[in-house]
């Protein structure tokens, strides 16, 4: 025979989906939120996102170089981490904070464990939470959308997110304000203070819809996560609407949508079984609601996801699916 035949064991066809293609689509799905962030907070937001990408890629490549591993920055995972980290930062942060954040995200959150696939915690959230705990002042200095379109927002409110503002009011006055500073529509579109990427529910939902449609992320986690938070905050709101924000407000403010659709769904750090994903989502939702309602922090999505990341190996073990033809022992 003139030509050599290629040998391998079956199957001989594979789906076109690859890790880079998944990561690329996640980046694509984050674009609406990125645009709203830049549109609302101006060049500063663009600069933070760009700096985050550059420093994250640098740390990823440097770590792989030092460890003698192949440089794999083109797999796109570091880029996803970078964008998520930037979207989780207030638009006012100094540049060095971004660099520190990406250092912790990539080096401590990911490469130390062996890189993509081995990290137990969502790297972007590791970076963000390190910053939140270490630099609370810088991390809670909010700005309002500066675009003329949003000039109706009163300046007296500057310096707080909807959730932060409500919590402060609750602590100082013993109740949430009778009239809330933003209406639901403003929260939905993104005319509010907050992290670069979390302000517009609409932009996040567009991206999330794309990921769900392409089956890049499982629906179980975001749905159970959001539903649980909605349900618990709703119960408390019905008990005492003077002390607790209404659940729709909870839904569209803070990092709930960004966290539920883009970070709790990080495939490396959540369970692989359906039941595991359901419990994971419920756990995230529960912790988020508890922190928001009773915690010292106004927002709890990051902590909730990180804590649930830690339970992933256990959830996988406890929720092994029933094997076909297996007779249940119970």
């Amino acid at each position: 025979m003139k030509e050599t035949l290629i040998l391998s064991s079956s199957p001989h066809i594979k789906s076109p989906e690859t890790i880079p293609s998944i990561m690329f689509q996640v980046c694509l799905a984050l674009l609406p939120a990125v645009f709203v962030g830049i549109y609302s907070f101006g060049a500063r937001a663009a600069w933070i996102i760009l700096l985050s990408i550059l420093s994250t890629l640098f740390f990823e490549a440097a770590a792989q170089k030092i460890m003698g591993r192949p440089i794999a920055i083109r797999d796109g995972s570091a880029c996803v981490t970078a964008i998520l980290l930037a979207l989780n930062l207030p638009p006012t942060v100094p540049w060095w904070l971004v660099v520190i954040g990406s250092f912790f995200a990539i080096i401590i959150g990911k490469q130390i464990y062996g890189g993509l696939g081995h990290n137990p915690f969502n790297p972007a959230l590791v970076g963000r939470v390190v910053l939140l705990i270490s630099f609370p002042a810088q991390m809670t200095l909010w700005a309002f959308p500066s675009h003329p379109l949003f000039s109706t927002v009163t300046d007296t409110l500057s310096g707080a997110t909807p959730l932060g503002w409500a919590k402060t009011h609750l602590i100082t006055h013993g109740a949430i304000p009778a009239t809330l500073p933003f209406n639901i529509q403003q929260l939905f579109i993104g005319q509010t203070g907050g992290c670069i990427g979390e302000i517009s529910a609409l932009a996040l939902l567009i991206g999330a819809g794309y990921l769900l449609w392409r089956k890049i992320i499982p629906w179980i986690i975001p749905v159970s996560f959001i539903a649980t938070t909605f349900f618990i905050t709703g119960v408390f709101w019905m008990i005492n609407p003077h002390q607790y924000l209404n659940p729709v407000y909870h839904l569209f403010s803070g990092g709930l949508l960004l966290g539920a659709f883009f970070m709790a769904t990080d495939m490396v750090t959540n369970p692989v079984t359906n039941l595991g994903m359901l419990l994971f989502g419920i756990g995230c939702g529960l912790l988020t609601a508890v922190i928001r309602l009773f915690g010292g922090y106004p927002e709890g999505v990051s902590f909730a996801i990180l804590l649930m990341n830690a339970t992933t190996p256990l959830l996988d073990r406890w929720t092994r699916p029933r094997v076909f033809g297996e007779v249940s022992n119970s």
Binding site: L5, S10, H12
Partner: protein
């Protein structure tokens, strides 16, 4: 009828448009055939001819060794030239009987004409099948007479005829159902009679609407129902098919279809059973789909067992593009060949030629725990963990996760975005576990 849902499954493009419309053609008699003694599950057959012996088409040339084994017959008239190791579909060299054919018109002349086999006692039909050397022609090659002889304590209520053909590219069963509809139905009657099964189903995937119509229009017996199934791989796997139709699961850990009162027979096998019982014809030829974008003229061929694949490729115009892979069977479970001298056997449902440009080269990444393999596994296993355990030689852990229940359909490897060879690692682990068990048993 309510269809039940088996877990998982994938939807690769079925690629059947290459050959689905092409009538079955008779391949010319090859100048030489190489008939392996092992074309079935169980010990190889024992040759009963020696070099120099003249044989006629249909003569028995090797005898089943033991109950779970199958007879082998001469597929051409000619002279036995050698019994020697020869390339085999399994990838190894295996003993085969080489026959030089006389090249003349060698139509098989029926030795029997049983007008009404259903007047004979059911059990007397099984020896006809056994004598003909029939094995499962969907690819599993389990001796059919064994499958049709369940132990006394197992009663079979349902016969399922498997015309699903869920492997992409393959259309051999499809064409057979279109062109030999009545013969297959006759075969169903025989099998049903042997098993005394009350219900019979002919399961066909929805992508073969003409075959579904053809079967429906020709079946008059109200106890035989044609079921059209949604397209999903591996719908044609025995356990998944039973689950879909009966809603029952073959027990994990070595259970058999008969444990839930069912027997599944492929349409090709059913046709062979018809020919054996009605005409006394042994299994000397089969329908195989020669396909893929690597072959110049794709065809559905009736070929003599033992025909070298090289002859078949030449008959179909040869490689169209730079050769990539030569596969016997479908792209999901077929076996890759390194030598085109390998002969067609009773289990060769297809000859698939993939051009070089369609053969990807993959560099496996660490598992990223996306869980896609868990979602698609039709057995409810955790292929990601099984793969990791296999890599780390943690076979006991893999066994605890039901390693041996894997049916090796390859869906996990197909979907893995990290391009990990999951089913390959699982196969390796299964081999290790079984080898160790044997070792323990010997001690």
């Amino acid at each position: 009828m309510i269809l039940h849902h088996f877990p998982g499954g994938i939807h690769p493009h079925d690629e059947k448009e290459l050959t689905a419309h092409l009538p079955i053609e008779d391949a010319p008699i090859p100048s030489r055939v190489f008939i392996p003694l092992s074309q079935h599950i169980g010990p190889p057959a024992e040759p009963i001819v020696k070099p120099g012996d003249p044989v006629r088409v249909g003569d028995k040339i090797a005898e089943a060794r033991g109950f779970v084994s199958a007879n082998i017959h001469a597929s051409v008239t000619g002279t036995v030239r050698a019994i020697r190791p020869y390339p085999h579909a399994s990838g190894r060299l295996a003993p085969a009987i080489e026959i030089e054919s006389e090249g003349e018109d060698q139509v098989y002349v029926p030795t029997k004409d049983r007008q009404d086999p259903l007047s004979l006692p059911p059990q007397t039909l099984i020896p006809f099948i056994r004598e003909a050397g029939i094995v499962g022609m969907g690819g599993a090659t389990f001796p059919t007479h064994v499958k049709l002889s369940p132990p006394e304590d197992k009663s079979i209520h349902t016969l399922i005829i498997n015309g699903v053909e869920c492997e992409p590219y393959l259309t051999a069963d499809h064409r057979l159902m279109l062109e030999h509809t009545r013969d297959i139905i006759e075969g169903i009657m025989y099998i049903r009679y042997i098993l005394n099964a009350s219900f019979s189903f002919v399961a066909i995937e929805i992508n073969k609407p003409d075959a579904i119509r053809m079967m429906q229009n020709n079946i008059s017996d109200p106890h035989i129902r044609v079921i059209s199934l949604p397209k999903r791989y591996p719908q044609g796997a025995e356990k998944q098919l039973i689950k879909t139709i009966l809603g029952q699961e073959v027990p994990s850990g070595g259970g058999l279809p008969m444990d839930v009162g069912a027997v599944v027979q492929n349409v090709g096998t059913t046709f062979a059973i018809y020919e054996a019982i009605r005409w006394g014809k042994p299994l000397i030829e089969r329908i195989t789909t020669v396909t893929g974008r690597g072959i110049k003229t794709p065809k559905n061929l009736r070929v003599r067992i033992g025909t070298p694949v090289r002859d078949i490729i030449a008959l179909c115009g040869g490689w169209k593009e730079v050769p990539g892979k030569l596969i016997l069977g479908g792209p999901m479970m077929g076996i890759n060949q390194y030598d085109d001298a390998v002969p067609v056997t009773k289990g060769t449902s297809g000859v698939l030629l993939l051009p070089r440009e369609e053969v990807g080269e993959y560099h496996p990444h660490t598992c990223v725990r996306c869980g896609r393999c868990v979602t698609v596994c039709p057995m409810g296993l955790l292929p990601n963990f099984l793969g990791v355990f296999s890599e780390h030689a943690r076979f006991a852990d893999a066994e605890r996760l039901h390693l041996l229940d894997c049916i090796e359909c390859g869906s996990c490897t197909y979907v893995c975005p990290a391009k990990r060879p999951l089913v390959q690692m699982i196969r390796y682990a299964k081999g290790e576990v079984l080898r160790r068990r044997k070792k323990v048993a010997r001690q």
